[in-house]
């Protein structure tokens, strides 16, 4: 284990990131802790908490997942994918909005769902599941607004300036949506053990997490056709995260949460994305070692 920890820290350093990781064998409880209790900015990883809340409310009969929602193109939360990038109005069920929110991290779909369930409900769900250090303080639209405000008139391109990066509230866990790697593996384990929701809703959450399209982070560490990877990424300037579950055909299943900050301010850093997979793989290999 100490050898694996050293290799994980070396992998993070080599990729030019500061990384925090927690990996948990969902069945044995064995774990690997590389900064698992450090407060981290969740960014879009918080959509996982919202998804669980949505299913919890459906299970309680507060809403129907097939309920249609009118998605007007006006005042949509911005983003590069899904409804956030579409130009016209649409009508989607709550669960299809959830699919867009998780598969392509659609910010507009996420905020439509938040409007329906409320931020407080998300915090009640995470509190109920014992995630004491997980808190959402704003919607995804509000989160993006703080970046816009803090970046100032230079807009997105000023985010390459280290001085601007130090000023972003969105990158300070005390002032934005936050959690810890350990809280996130606890949430994933609860979902996989059907402790967060009824088995029927647990299965629906696991299906959606398995439909995420991004191959560049967690999944990149497991290039094996017989290994299943399900997860949710989160990204902001200098922030790259992913939390997910890796399942082997022998029944082994591992919740992994990786949160990183890059030293470089460039938007495109393939090595920083890939090290999330590399570190997760080192951790899972250590947990699987005889």
């Amino acid at each position: 284990m100490t050898d694996a920890l050293a290799r994980i820290h070396a992998a993070f350093a080599d990729a030019g990131v500061t990384g925090r990781l927690h990996a948990l064998d969902i069945d044995s409880g064995a774990q690997l802790d590389a900064g698992a209790d450090q407060p981290v900015c969740t960014a879009s990883v918080h959509k996982l908490c919202l998804l669980v809340t949505l299913h919890e409310q459906a299970a309680a009969g507060l809403l129907d997942l097939t309920e249609p929602v009118e998605c007007s193109p006006q005042a949509r939360t911005t983003g590069p994918t899904g409804l956030a990038a579409m130009l016209d109005g649409a009508r989607l069920s709550l669960r299809d909005l959830a699919y867009l929110m998780m598969s392509v991290s659609d910010n507009a779909a996420a905020d439509q769902l938040l409007e329906r369930v409320g931020l407080d409900a998300v915090n009640r769900t995470t509190a109920r599941l014992g995630l004491a250090r997980t808190l959402a303080v704003h919607t995804f639209g509000e989160l993006l607004s703080t970046i816009k405000e803090d970046a100032g008139p230079g807009g997105a391109r000023s985010l390459a300036d280290p001085l601007v990066v130090t000023r972003l509230r969105a990158l300070d866990p005390a002032r934005t949506n936050r959690s810890t790697p350990r809280d996130m593996t606890r949430l994933l384990a609860a979902v996989w053990r059907d402790e967060a929701c009824t088995p029927e809703h647990g299965a629906a959450i696991r299906r959606i997490l398995g439909l995420q399209v991004w191959p560049h982070r967690l999944a990149s560490g497991f290039p094996f056709d017989d290994v299943h990877v399900a997860g949710k990424t989160g990204s902001l300037p200098t922030v790259r995260n992913e939390v997910g579950v890796v399942e082997y055909p022998d029944g082994g299943r591992y919740a992994v949460a990786v949160f990183t900050r890059t030293a470089r301010t460039s938007a495109l850093l393939p090595a920083a994305d890939a090290v999330i997979g590399t570190a997760a793989r080192l951790a899972v290999d250590a947990l699987r070692a005889p």
Partner: protein
């Protein structure tokens, strides 16, 4: 009333939107926290929060006061930091660091500027690379330092970011040596000599990415640091090296003869490459002494190393996997 302590409570409740969590964060019980908020509301004559059985929301008035409350807290922390320093040494002590690549002239100028402005303050100066400075900030063993960018700046505050332009060292008989300014693409075919990557992976990667973006992808990268070794490789191994202007005594305009014959230094066309520096200190711990060091270091770099303000950023095309859009 201890205003600072009460404002701390106010900010914690505002940030947590929850009395229980705020109390846990402050390491106190919930009832005294509620009492403090009520006392503060009476003292200010303003209602700060709306409380229902389920939740706490900050009022409009509370929002208006929050930024100033944070400022008062930051300033009070800075005051405590100064007091701590004065208490620790007879005259006060500032623990500062500079990276090893800063020239002797720059260090001398910094010390001269600093002693001129920060009278009665003792400066304990260390030579430390960026990574070690960040570790010591975290361990509260260092108050301020001059660091290289890019690095992980979380939890830090920064002074102005300055760039020291990099040029190229190349053999006198290379075709590009005949040019006044060398386009990076004209170095094609030459190996590149760089410091070993482990020393600063992000800086190393940034330099190679910028070379590639400007049409120069070296067939091989050779690792070397010592001046003589680098010169030897340039002379004998069909390789070039990057080096700041101030390391070659070539200020703007003048072109003194190159010291060691066979190797020449040339600026790069468009100045695409630079070493970037700024003064940094742990967030919330800036005080007058830190400000004096920042001012002295910035002035010294500008006057002795030809450092200039960071260039405006280039266009940025975010791709969908970025997950955000401004």
């Amino acid at each position: 009333m201890d205003l600072v302590r009460h404002l701390e409570c106010f900010v914690a409740v505002a940030e947590e939107s929850h009395f229980g969590r705020a109390a846990a964060r402050l390491g106190m019980a919930q009832p005294p926290l509620s009492q403090r908020i009520q006392r503060l509301e009476r003292h200010l004559g303003v209602r700060l929060f709306e409380r229902t059985s389920r939740q706490v929301t900050i009022t409009e008035a509370g929002t208006l006061l929050l930024a100033e409350a944070r400022e008062v807290l930051a300033r009070s922390e800075a005051l405590m930091a100064t007091a701590r320093r004065i208490r620790d040494g007879e005259t006060g002590l500032l623990r500062a660091a500079l990276p090893p690549d800063v020239s002797g002239e720059t260090v001398a100028a910094l010390l001269a500027h600093f002693s001129g402005t920060a009278d009665g303050l003792e400066l304990e100066l260390h030579e430390l690379p960026t990574a070690q400075q960040l570790e010591r900030f975290a361990a509260h063993e260092l108050d301020v330092g001059l660091i290289h960018h890019p690095c992980d700046v979380s939890g830090l505050e920064l002074g102005p970011v300055l760039r020291r332009e990099l040029g190229v060292l190349l053999p006198r008989d290379a075709a590009a040596a005949g040019l006044d300014e060398v386009p990076l693409a004209s170095l094609t075919g030459y190996d590149l000599i760089l410091f070993p990557r482990a020393g600063a992976p992000a800086v190393y990667d940034d330099l190679l990415t910028t070379c590639a973006r400007n049409g120069y992808t070296p067939p091989a990268v050779r690792h070397a640091q010592g001046t003589s070794f680098v010169r030897g490789l340039v002379l004998s191994a069909r390789a070039v090296a990057l080096s700041p202007r101030d390391a070659h005594g070539q200020g703007e305009g003048d072109q003194p003869p190159s010291p060691a014959s066979g190797v020449v230094w040339r600026p790069l066309t468009g100045a695409p490459l630079a070493l970037r520096h700024s003064v940094a200190w742990p967030g919330g711990r800036g005080d007058a002494a830190v400000a004096a060091f920042t001012e002295a270091a910035t002035r010294a770099l500008r006057s002795t190393a030809g450092a200039s303000p960071d260039l405006p950023a280039r266009p940025l095309h975010l791709r969908p996997a970025s997950e955000y859009w401004l």
